[in-house]
């Protein structure tokens, strides 16, 4: 008989582990991924594959070069980063740029801090923002979704167009009124299902919501961040809209366009970079929402979700410090 094992209690473990959580997120990302393949065709497929493979490769390489011991590529976190990074770029992006994005996301934003769990910022967002700042033209050239699957002419210029948010921002800058601009926009229903210009993963709000419910069901995320993020964005946009409907767009427009859904459901809820306490999570979502609208309405960029989340990631340690859970028996002691 083998030696008996001695260890401290507890001697049993719940069936939860990091792998299950990470692959749960991957599963939740599948609907949005399928939508992106449907709308953007083979280019989406290539970009997603390249992104995932290069993320896994960079994580493995960083492990081999800088860390001892087993690599962590099998835990699935690199796959998530890869998919999310691909989701955040336009479908016409040159592949080599995406590889650079993956390098920054994995090596700079994640492994340099010590790997999964130690990164202060969401790696995929860091990669995305790096690309946005480095290659602004390529990152804001949006091929329009084209329904026929397996279209090969994804580099044809005639198919590119701005995102709805970009159209509005540009239009307002040129002094058009909102009414005239809105004629250029797709309908809400179209936007809800993804019929608009945008990054790979952010086009279909419905697909993202399905993934979000799956993660809620698996208890991978809690409702706090998405609800407060989206709620704050809506509320803030509503206030502006009520003040002057000719200058500010309908709050529903903010909801279905751009990366709000993707950010609120998949990026802001990243366990590693979001607060741990429900109250802190509500505050985190609130901050994200306010910053998103601030950047969208008054900022230089048409889209502000990634910046908002990254900024809130930076204050997460503070939020964690400020919001401690209620301790058992504490109220009576103080009272």
């Amino acid at each position: 008989m083998a030696l008996l094992t001695v260890s401290g209690s507890p001697h049993i473990h719940g069936d939860d582990n990091v792998k299950k959580i990470m692959y749960g997120v991957v599963i939740a990302l599948i609907p949005a991924m399928l939508v992106s393949f449907y709308y953007f065709g083979i280019s989406a497929l290539i970009l997603t594959a390249v992104s995932v493979i290069s993320c896994i490769f960079f994580e493995w390489a960083a492990h081999k070069l800088f860390f001892k011991g087993k690599t962590t590529i099998s835990d699935g976190s690199a796959i998530i980063t890869g998919i999310l990074l691909a989701f955040n770029v336009p479908s016409g992006l040159p592949v080599w740029m995406l590889v650079i994005g993956a390098l920054v996301a994995i090596c700079v934003a994640k492994m340099s801090y010590g790997g999964l769990g130690k990164n202060p910022f969401n790696p995929a967002l860091v990669g995305r923002v790096f690309l946005l700042i480095s290659f602004p033209v390529d990152m804001t050239t949006w091929p329009k979704p084209s329904l026929p699957f397996l279209t090969t002419n994804f580099t044809v210029d005639g198919l590119t167009g701005a995102t709805p948010l970009g159209i509005i921002k540009e239009g307002l800058k040129q002094g058009h009124t909102l009414d005239t601009i809105q004629n250029q926009l797709p309908h809400y229903a179209e936007m809800l299902f993804g019929q608009m210009g945008g990054s790979l993963g952010e086009v279909s709000a419905i697909a993202i919501i399905i993934g979000g419910f799956y993660m809620l069901f698996r208890k991978i995320i809690t409702w706090h961040i998405p609800v407060s993020f989206i709620g704050t964005t809506l509320a803030f946009a509503l206030i502006l809209w009520l003040i002057d409907p000719t200058q500010y767009v309908n709050p529903l427009f903010h909801l279905v366009t751009g990366g709000l859904m993707l950010g609120a459901v998949f990026m802001a809820t990243d366990m590693v970079t979001s607060p741990m306490n429900p109250k802190g999570q509500l505050l985190f979502g609130f901050g994200c929402g306010v910053l998103t609208i601030l950047i969208r309405v008054w900022g230089a960029y048409p889209e502000g979700v990634s910046f908002a989340i990254l900024l809130m990631n930076a204050v997460t340690p503070l939020i964690n410090k400020g919001f401690k859970p209620k301790k058992f028996g504490e109220v009576i002691k103080n009272g």
């Binding site: 008989m1 083998a2 008996l4 094992t5 001695v6 260890s7 401290g8 209690s9 507890p10 001697h11 049993i12 473990h13 719940g14 939860d16 582990n17 990091v18 299950k20 959580i21 962590t72 835990d75 010590g114 790997g115 999964l116 769990g117 130690k118 366990m271 590693v272 741990m276 306490n277 401690k324 859970p325 209620k326 301790k327 058992f328 028996g329 504490e330 109220v331 009576i332 002691k333």
Partner: protein, 441 residues
């Protein structure tokens, strides 16, 4: 159904032995009775090598306020008083008795007849509990009489009886409630009289419906005793959690249940109190569950203290080939044994045999800050944070994190998806912070 408010987990129940009636385990050949079977100071041996002892004879006397008498669990000759390895592998003094026959002390009432009338008054009852060496049988083995002596200026208004048995696998309390239900209830009334309260609530988790119904029938005859089914949730058997669940009072941090007017006793203790007070029988045997997924059979045994764990294992058909761990107590809070020679003591509620595949922990990865440990902590602590500080040896800082409130239930380490040894580090921190606090005094 009621339950406590913050945290908690629901491990797989695995109550494999819940249908095994209590059997009497044959006497061991040699009984090693440790002098420290309770919380507090070890008892002082009263017998010497070569002395003849009878079952129930006082062989070691309590030393100090928090301590308990120890009685012979077998009859025979004292072979020696020597060090034996206890559950942790460290060596502790024990009285080793060679068993000869089974001769009981005459003062013990061995009949099975139920004695309901309580002839003693409150003071006498507490004195009796003390002299019979009764300690809390839920696992903490705190001397019962100390709990029953209410400090001046405080008052108990309700007695809470813990029949929760929230640990997976264990069924000893469950079987006791089913088979010795009425005796246990009489024990409860004795405790009520001693505490001068007229209300007692027995909390039982709803995975023991048969016990709930059985006791509910019995308590109709007893005034002031209530049965309360509780939602299955670990660690409901923790004193503070049980009080919160049953009467919604919150014991303040660093205080005792008596500060909110409660006294909590285990059902096993209530039965031991019945036997001590009504039958004059000291605490020298208890119900022990022996269970495990790979065992030939599971069982609930009435075991004399000092019986080696080996005897129990032999009685259920020997250790399976792929045994990886033997746990004294439940899998959430029990201690892993070094050897099967360790004796059963007052605090052993069960022996759980784990197969090799379940014996080791999962691989430890980085903390992914999922906050699951925070959400399951029944005391509202931040286990990941305390454990991280403990790994950095920053013990003075940990004191501010209320680490002494930790009840060591293990929910955090149970749930951690990264398999981090959270409770190990927290326990170390508790130990070190305790030293810091003691040094300050």
């Amino acid at each position: 159904m009621k339950t406590f408010k913050i945290g908690g987990v629901h491990p797989e129940e695995n109550k494999l032995s819940s249908h095994n009636p209590i059997e009497i385990l044959p006497l061991p050949k040699v009984a090693s009775i440790p002098l420290s079977q309770h919380l507090g100071a070890p008892a002082l041996p009263l017998v010497e090598k070569g002395a003849k002892v009878k079952v129930g004879q006082l062989i070691a006397k309590a030393q100090g306020f928090i301590s308990a008498n120890i009685h012979a669990s077998v009859s025979g000759t004292v072979a020696k008083i020597d060090d034996i390895t206890d559950t942790s592998g460290y060596r502790r003094k024990a009285i080793i008795i060679n068993v000869e026959g089974d001769e009981w002390d005459e003062s013990i009432d061995r009949s099975n007849e139920l004695k309901k009338d309580i002839t003693l008054d409150a003071k006498q009852i507490i004195e009796k509990i003390n002299s019979m060496g009764v300690v809390g049988l839920g696992g903490a083995t705190f001397p019962t009489y100390v709990k029953m002596m209410i400090p001046e200026g405080k008052k108990a208004d309700v007695l809470i009886i813990n029949g929760v048995e929230c640990e997976p696998y264990l069924t000893s309390d469950h079987r006791l409630m089913l088979e010795k239900g009425e005796e246990m209830i009489v024990g409860v009334t004795i405790l009520m009289k001693a505490l001068n309260v007229n209300k007692a609530i027995i909390g039982i988790e709803s995975n023991k419906m048969d016990a709930i119904q059985h006791l509910a029938d019995i308590v109709k005859k007893y005034k002031g005793v209530e049965i309360e089914p509780l939602k299955v949730r670990y660690p409901q058997g923790g004193e503070k959690q049980l009080i919160k669940a049953l009467i919604n009072r919150e014991v303040p941090s660093g205080k005792l249940p008596i500060d909110v007017g409660c006294v909590v006793q285990n059902v096993g203790t209530a039965f031991a109190v019945y036997e001590a007070v009504q039958k004059n029988k000291p605490l020298f045997e208890r119900v022990v569950t022996i269970t495990g997924k790979n065992l030939k059979k599971t069982a609930n045994f009435m075991v004399r203290m000092g019986t080696p764990v080996n005897d129990l294992i032999e009685a259920v058909g020997g250790l399976p080939e792929n045994t990886g761990k033997i746990i004294n107590g439940g899998p959430m809070m029990g201690k892993a044994l070094n050897s099967t020679e360790t004796p059963i003591v007052k605090g052993s509620s069960g022996i759980v045999i784990m197969p090799e595949i379940n014996a080791c922990r999962i691989e430890t990865l980085n903390c992914i800050r999922c906050a699951k440990c925070v959400s399951v902590c029944p005391m509202g602590l931040e286990p990941f944070f305390i454990a991280a500080l403990s790994e950095l040896l920053k013990f003075p800082e940990i004191e501010n994190e209320s680490v002494m409130d930790c009840i060591e239930c293990g929910s955090c380490a149970y749930i951690c998806p990264s398999g981090r040894p959270l409770l190990d580090n927290i326990r170390l921190a508790k130990n070190k912070v305790g030293q810091i606090i003691r040094n300050r005094k």
